[in-house]
Amino acid sequence: MRMEDMKRHDEIDEETLLNLEIMKKEEKANSFIKKLLRNKTAVVGMIIITITIISAIFSPFLSTHDPNKVNTEEACLKPGENGHIFGTDEYGRDLYSRIVYGSRISIIVGVCATTLGAILGIILGIISGYKGGITDTIIMRFVDGMFAFPFILLAIVMMTVFGSGLQNVVLAIGIANIPSYARIVRGQVLIVKKQEYCQALIALGASNKKIIIDHIFPNILSPIIVYGTLNIAGAIISEAALSFLGLGIQPPTPSWGNILKSGKDYLITAPHIATFSGLAILVTVLGFNLFGDGVRDALDPKLKQ
């Protein structure tokens, strides 16, 4: 069965063609997007995420007022009063517009911090798990050291060192997330590396690059994506927490965290300030979580409805 003999088998009969068509159809029906769309909770998550992203991109068009315009005469208006959908905050700024603009911060921080943490964590995890030995020990002890630091403390230290601001919030949350990714990835790599298909590839003479990119990476991807989408939610909460503590996004720039912070002082007199900003965080986080679960199910070829 050498290559030359193979060429003679090119004539394909009608039955073959028919079967090939069925093969293509089956492939289409089982594509990732199709599976994701069949999952109702994932669709709900997707809708929530889409709304958040749209409001982040089109904030100027969606907002009804200037989010930073102070009007002390209209302070702490109830929702619906005087054309303010969600009411106003303690300086009389339109709450709805502030929350719409706040989604920008949340989406940017959520996506960027997660991507940053994931990329660095995946690189460290793959090197650590695949190389093993002394490299593994050094990387993992370093990661353990980072783990030993409470997340908020680590973020506070970094925010104090770097100073506040959007970029630094992303940097701090991203770096604080590296250890979890490195851990997850390393564990997965260790499992996949021991599988006989990886051994078979080594025996075939495949390069490390090919084994890692073509075989190890796709096999460890599902937990990373699932953790990643959940992590976006986590990063949004972290940003809110940092801003709530006054370390993150500085007022007057609206972020859900600092709106919540200012709302806490008026919980009795104007509960809508904390409620709407809190709800915005809750719904967005829920959306990412639902979507994350859906992605996991759709990525697993073993789950087939």
């Binding site: 069965m1 193979m6 088998h9 599988q195 298909y197 025996a203 495949a206 075989h215 073993k302």
Partner: protein
């Protein structure tokens, strides 16, 4: 005598075992301890032994998944043990391995067609279309329709997967295939099917097999020669018919007495061995088998017997035969 394709001389493979402390003592697990054998082209050598006796290590060492501690492995006269990865790559085409577990030996995220053609990608042989064609042909050869090429491994049964593994091992037209207990995870009816495929392919492509197994009937069916391993050493090696007719080493005798007879009315004398296989970390002195041997002599505790010729193609390592 036909061409010798694989020659293993005094192969040793020790695994270092540390006790976990930073400056702790390192012990060596002697998984394979000084074994030698040869396989001729187109023949099958069956390697039999209990679990943990080092038979899989032999296979993995030959294919280069383990480094050699000592000894020589010659493939078609070329010493492959000392080659580095780059020098080894062209030779890897000629030696392939079929693994024990049909469930973990295929990448679950890759379609069958991809897995089967992948060896061609790695060695950069042919065009994409030719590779696809070849994968289709190979699958048909092991009795699977090309229609399955777009399926994922989890959609197949164990026997089908093992046939896919066989197809993948054949992709590069190898000369030697190391089969590491390829049928042990399959049930009996499927085993027969897979074994017949092995046999047919051997006739068709003049393949050479190193067939590692603990299943005596399977080895008898496929092999031309067999080697019996105990605790990292070969205790008896030779022609399969000769050894099955006239096993000499006490361990071989005990092993073969465990094969059930075809006629249930015939009661065979079972030789029941006492005790467990000793730990390879702390093997007994002298003959490795002396603490379980029914014919133990004084010399057995002191001197490790060498393999000696008892017939034209039959060697045994036991002090009973001198």
């Amino acid at each position: 005598m036909s061409e010798v394709i694989l020659e293993v001389e005094n192969l040793k493979k020790y695994f270092p075992v540390t006790n976990g402390k930073l400056f702790g003592r390192t012990n060596y697990l002697k998984a394979v301890n000084d074994i030698s054998f040869t396989i001729e082209k187109g023949k099958t050598l069956g390697l039999i032994g209990e679990s943990g006796c080092g038979k899989s290590t032999v296979g993995k060492t030959i294919i280069g998944l383990n480094n050699i501690t000592d000894g020589v492995i010659k493939f078609k006269g070329k010493d492959i043990g000392s080659l580095n990865n780059k020098e080894m790559k062209p030779l890897r085409k000629d030696i392939q391995m079929i693994f024990q577990d049909p469930y973990s030996s295929l990448d679950p995220k890759k379609k069958i067609g991809y897995s089967v053609k992948e060896p061609l990608d790695i060695h950069n042989i042919g065009e994409e279309g030719e590779r696809q064609d070849k994968a289709r042909q190979l699958l048909e050869m092991v009795g699977l329709s090309y229609y399955y090429m777009n399926r994922y491994p989890h959609e197949f049964s164990g026997g089908q997967r093992q046939r896919i593994n066989i197809a993948r091992a054949l992709t590069l037209d190898p000369e030697l295939i190391i089969c590491d207990e390829p049928t042990s995870a399959l049930d009996v009816s499927i085993q027969a099917q897979v074994l017949n495929i092995f046999k047919q392919l051997q006739e068709k492509f003049d393949l050479t097999y190193l067939f590692i197994s603990h299943n005596l009937s399977v080895v008898k069916y496929l092999s031309d020669d067999i080697a019996i391993m105990y605790l990292g050493k070969i205790v008896e090696i030779g022609d399969v018919k000769e050894i099955y007719k006239n096993p000499l080493h006490p361990y071989t005798k005990a092993l073969f007495s465990a094969i059930p007879t075809e006629d249930p009315n015939i009661i065979k004398d079972r030789i029941n061995l006492k005790g467990e296989i000793p730990s390879p970390l702390n093997p007994p002195s002298g003959c490795k088998f002396h603490n379980r041997c029914p014919h133990k002599m004084k010399v057995c505790e002191e001197v490790d017997p060498n393999l000696i010729n008892v017939d034209v193609n039959h060697k045994v390592g036991c002090h009973l035969y001198k």
